[in-house]
Symmetry: C2
Subunit: 216 residues, 2 copies
């Protein structure tokens, strides 16, 4: 490969993106083994040599594609939840957070990415870790921080903020995500049902972690 001059650099970047877009579409639909580099090249309207020049191997392309989508998905995860605005109860604040988290399960491409990574967790263990760290791991760590802060202020009682955050996360996400994984995207409840679900999950959490009323 020659070092690209300016205009070529831009074209090369455009090709790079086109290849990643094509790879995302094909891998998400057909899986790792069901997708060939020829198909990626054809869909991206570049030569196969260009694909290999940019990504060296199918494994490398798969990894680059998954990491790009995972980062994008991670950016949707709420971190740094912060304290409730004046006049809003902690429970109402948490319900709002839960509702925003649940939007993720209503994004079919993200559910398909999750299926794909689970499918390939043995072949690509690093990708499973990247998805976990950018997804539930990041959400749970962010929650644990605010739970610790709220506990210090006497608003919650979470002696183990990380464990409490994990239970909170799976109260919210457990059923919808796992139903979607096994039953497909049509099994995700509609918006009103997800709102009721979020409300009940927060009620359960607050019953277990709200500070005990003072004895006097």
């Amino acid at each position: 490969m020659t070092i690209p001059h300016k205009a070529g650099g831009t074209r090369s970047e455009r090709k790079h993106e086109a290849i990643l877009d094509a790879a995302a579409a094909l891998f998400l639909q057909h899986g790792y083994l069901g997708t060939s580099m020829d198909e990626v090249a054809s869909r991206a309207a570049v030569s196969k040599q260009t694909v290999y020049a940019q990504f060296t191997s199918k494994d490398a392309l798969f990894e680059a594609m998954v990491r790009r989508l995972t980062r994008a998905a991670g950016d949707k995860v709420q971190v740094g939840l912060g304290s409730p605005p004046d006049g809003m109860s902690l429970a109402a604040h948490l319900i709002g957070y839960a509702a925003r988290q649940l939007e993720v399960v209503r994004t079919p491409a993200l559910m398909q990415l999750r299926r794909l990574i689970i499918a390939e967790a043995t072949r690509f263990p690093d990708l499973g870790r990247a998805l976990y760290e950018n997804g539930p791991g990041r959400a749970i760590a962010g929650l644990a921080d605010v739970f610790a802060e709220w506990s210090a202020k006497g608003l919650l009682e979470t002696p183990d903020p990380l464990a409490a955050a994990s239970f909170f996360n799976w109260l919210i996400m457990g059923e919808p995500v796992n139903r979607a994984m096994m039953l497909g995207d049509e099994a995700v409840p509609d918006g009103a049902a997800l709102e009721r679900h979020a409300g009940e999950a927060v009620r359960i959490f607050m019953a277990a972690f709200a500070p005990a009323p003072s004895p006097d």
Copy 2:
């Protein structure tokens, strides 16, 4: 094919089982697309014609293999939990149940089956449904029955027993199953950690669903 006589029938059944065993080993390790009928035949020590005579297609073999493992897994799921024995608290009874459910996540073949079905949920939607119905669906329905019964006796307060059962299930299974899906079997906590997890999950559940103390 000729209709088998007695001795042939037995041999045919043995071959049938050998093919299913070979299919399970190969599909679980290499996935649907990564496994060929030639490899199944070779591993089962039968001819490829025999494989096709018994299962007609790779799809049919895959389905038969998954359904056999799913049924076997479903038999491990606790149903008809029953009431706690005399002198045992409801919480202690639920912790015992939770600990038994968690054994499932410590069975690598079952976690791999789950990964495989999630991977192929789009290609084989019926299999996702079968796994869901034999797995979480069955556990949750069984729990909902006893929660309704206990609520009628005043031991619990679950106005929606099915929703309560689903939250209970995912309090227990959410973190360990989803970590195992993405991070691999090594990410499953050890026995002592799973016991603490079960205890805390039941504490959260009881905080939310134990009957309110009577006002007098």
